[in-house]
């Protein structure tokens, strides 16, 4: 995959813009899937993806090729998403004079639009609602690790923090999500210890 990316990037830097179009086609679905879990609605996710690709095109000459193109693109998208959320927050506070807006940003219904809720199973809706209530830091690592299947090193690259920080964030994120999903009184099935002892752990999601 990296060879194809390298070729397309080289062609794009040589002046063939269509090569970048191929990169867009290649990665837009995956990037959008990650973006929509990180931001709060589909429109913002589309904006993040669009801006991320445009920023990537404009900075393509600075791409050194020491990381995978997609990891680099993730990082741009992540920064774009953070900027977008910051802007939205500023606009929201200007519009309302900073007072109580009556809008709870953690309200899952803000993300789960009526149309989507009908299409989604109850289980997915519950999980997504819990994800939305996580802090941004915790949501990011869970999205990158469990949904996107990135390695620790890649997540560290995307988020620009050391691997140790990723480990500890992931640990806290898993516990926080578990607390949101499982009521304290609910009993649950004990795990089979043998599952934990596989050296490789569980297989990650497929990465293309």
């Amino acid at each position: 995959m990296k060879n194809v990316d390298s070729r397309l990037i080289a062609e794009c830097l040589g002046g063939r813009r269509d090569a970048f179009g191929e990169l867009v086609t290649r990665y837009q679905a995956r990037l959008y899937n990650a973006a929509i879990r990180l931001v709060d609605n589909p429109e913002d996710a589309a904006d993040v993806v669009q801006d991320a690709f445009l920023n990537a095109y404009q900075s393509l000459h600075g791409f050194k090729g020491d990381a995978e193109f997609f990891t680099w693109l993730y990082r741009i998208a992540f920064n774009t998403g953070v900027s977008l959320k910051r802007k939205r927050r500023a606009v929201l506070s200007l519009d309302t004079g900073g007072g109580d807006t009556g809008i709870d940003p953690d309200d899952p219904s803000e993300y789960v639009r009526p149309g989507l809720a009908l299409e989604r199973t109850e289980d997915e809706a519950q999980l997504q609602a819990a994800m939305v209530r996580l802090s941004a830091e915790h949501r990011e690592v869970l999205v990158f690790k469990d949904i996107e299947g990135l390695k620790y090193e890649e997540i560290a690259e995307v988020l620009g923090v050391p691997i140790g920080t990723i480990r500890s964030r992931l640990h806290r994120a898993r516990l926080e999500l578990r607390n949101l999903l499982v009521p304290p009184s609910e009993p649950s099935t004990p795990a089979d210890p043998a599952d934990a002892l596989s050296p490789a752990g569980r297989p990650g999601p497929s990465r293309d």
Binding site: I9, A10, C12, L13, G14, G15, R16, R17, D18, F20, V24, T25, Q28, A29, Y32, N33, R37, A46, V49, Q50, F53, L54, Y57, Q58, L60, H61, K64, G65, D123, E124, L127, Q128, L142, K145, D146, I147, G149, Y152, R167, S168, L170, H171, R174, L175, R178, L181, V182, S188, T189, P190, A191, P193, D195, A196, L197, P199, G201, R202, G204, P205
Partner: protein, 436 residues
């Protein structure tokens, strides 16, 4: 082990991020603590649920939107020289050092050769001209014999040329009996003396160090970068210069894509239909596109025409701009003209159901009349007017709004009327899109 450490062990076990020793610790923990087993099970289940979340598909037109925006940016070769991608920096540094060393070595070799070449050339010249001023004056002359020097020459030499000046005069008397009489007559007058070595002939007005001629060096010239034509439709109406520039842009003998940005793409298409009618163009609007227009569904429309000359395209845009200026609120914003790209050709192939041959040059030589052309001529003669200029309007985006070419009656009508393209005609893909 503290509970916090146990918790971390459990969460890391979910990711399979444990060493052999940690796996042993985990096994012990799970065997002795039911709570740990429960928590581990919950963490594994929730991780699997996250992994199984269905993929959310992006909007159908997202890639097209991004690609259109990228097209608005200049291509790389006109902005930044493309670096060699993925070359490790250390490797590049070593190549740079090698290049510097090679340059120094070459310069050293060249200058040595030049110096030696100059010395030998000077010696040759000296031998040929009889000038011996450059002979070594240290007594180690290869020719130990006294050399006859013309007295006039000797007198003309400055005193610092001691060894030469002290050489014995040429004894004309010694050879008098051997030479013809006329040669013994003294020279007519003291002509200017060439006491210096004649310079070596220069073969080039700007010889390099080694005297080699590398021919004319081409002067550097600025690179002209052709930027896409971007202006507002209002400008086309208000400023005649913009219309002239548009015409110039249309005369590069290439197919074009013209993006018209309208506040409402539907209103934009209606305006194009009116303007086309005013310019004598029959615009066949596909029924599905008309239906979306009627229902006010957000759609990007495409109009394809390949029977207009660049002047006629300019007139169509000018007409559109003039009509737009008359409205209380303008329908159009910007227009963006670029040479069509292969992706545009691909889209048109899909939309029209055939290859429109954007980059094919129409044969200027006379050829047999096709049935379509004959029909056009017959129709024109019957109607007493010029052959009809046809265009077709179709829904372009979202992709699911497109119709199968064979199912579109209007498209088939257009294709039947289209006929052969004239050599002066400019294939045009006119895209009418909303600004949001």
């Amino acid at each position: 082990m503290t509970p916090a450490a146990e918790l971390e062990l459990l969460t890391r076990a979910v990711d399979g991020d444990l060493s052999a020793g940690e796996r042993r610790d985990l096994r012990r923990l799970l065997s002795r603590s039911a709570d740990a087993r429960t928590l581990f099970g919950q963490l594994k289940v929730q991780s699997d649920r996250l992994r199984r979340l269905p993929k959310v598909s992006p909007p159908a037109d997202l890639a097209a939107r991004v690609i259109t925006r990228v097209r608005e940016l200049p291509p790389y070769h006109s902005v930044t020289p493309a670096p060699l991608p993925f070359a490790p920096p250390a490797r590049r540094r070593s190549w740079a050092l090698l290049a510097v060393a090679a340059s120094l070595f070459l310069a050293l070799g060249a200058s040595s050769f030049w110096f030696a070449h100059r010395r030998s050339a000077a010696n040759t010249d000296t031998a040929q001209t009889g000038d011996f001023r450059q002979r070594p004056a240290n007594g180690r002359d290869r020719n130990p014999l006294p050399i006859p020097v013309d007295p006039v020459v000797r007198d003309a030499l400055p005193p610092e040329h001691g060894p030469l000046a002290s050489l014995p005069p040429a004894s004309e008397e010694r050879h008098a009996d051997l030479l013809p009489r006329e040669l013994l007559t003294p020279p007519p007058a003291a002509s200017p003396l060439e006491v210096a070595v004649a310079p070596r002939p220069v073969r080039s007005p700007s010889p390099d160090l080694m005297g080699a001629d590398f021919g004319r060096v081409a002067s550097f010239a600025a690179v002209r970068v052709r930027l896409p034509f971007l202006t507002s439709l209002a400008e086309v109406h208000d400023r005649p210069g913009a219309r002239d520039q548009l015409l110039r842009e249309l005369q590069h003998d290439t197919p074009y894509r013209l993006d018209l940005f309208a506040a409402n793409a539907g209103r934009g298409l209606e305006s194009v239909i009116e303007a086309a009618k005013g310019c004598g163009i029959t615009l066949h609007v596909d029924a599905a596109a008309r239906d979306r227009l009627k229902k006010k569904q957000p759609t990007t429309f495409v109009v394809y025409v390949d029977g207009l000359t660049s002047n006629e395209v300019r007139d169509l845009v000018a007409r559109l701009a003039a009509d737009d200026a008359k409205r209380p609120a303008r329908a159009f914003d910007l227009l963006h003209l670029t040479p069509a790209q292969p992706a545009d050709g691909k889209d048109l192939r899909e939309l029209l159901g055939l290859d429109p041959g954007l980059w094919k040059r129409p044969d200027a030589a006379p050829k047999a009349i096709t049935a379509g052309t004959a029909d056009q001529v017959v129709r024109a003669m019957a109607g007493g007017g010029k052959p009809e200029k046809a265009a077709v309007a179709l829904a372009y985006l979202p992709a699911n709004a497109r119709v199968k070419p064979a199912a579109s009656k209007e498209l088939q009508q257009f294709l039947a009327k289209r006929g052969d393209r004239k050599p002066t005609a400019v294939p045009l893909m006119l895209v009418i899109r909303g600004t949001n």
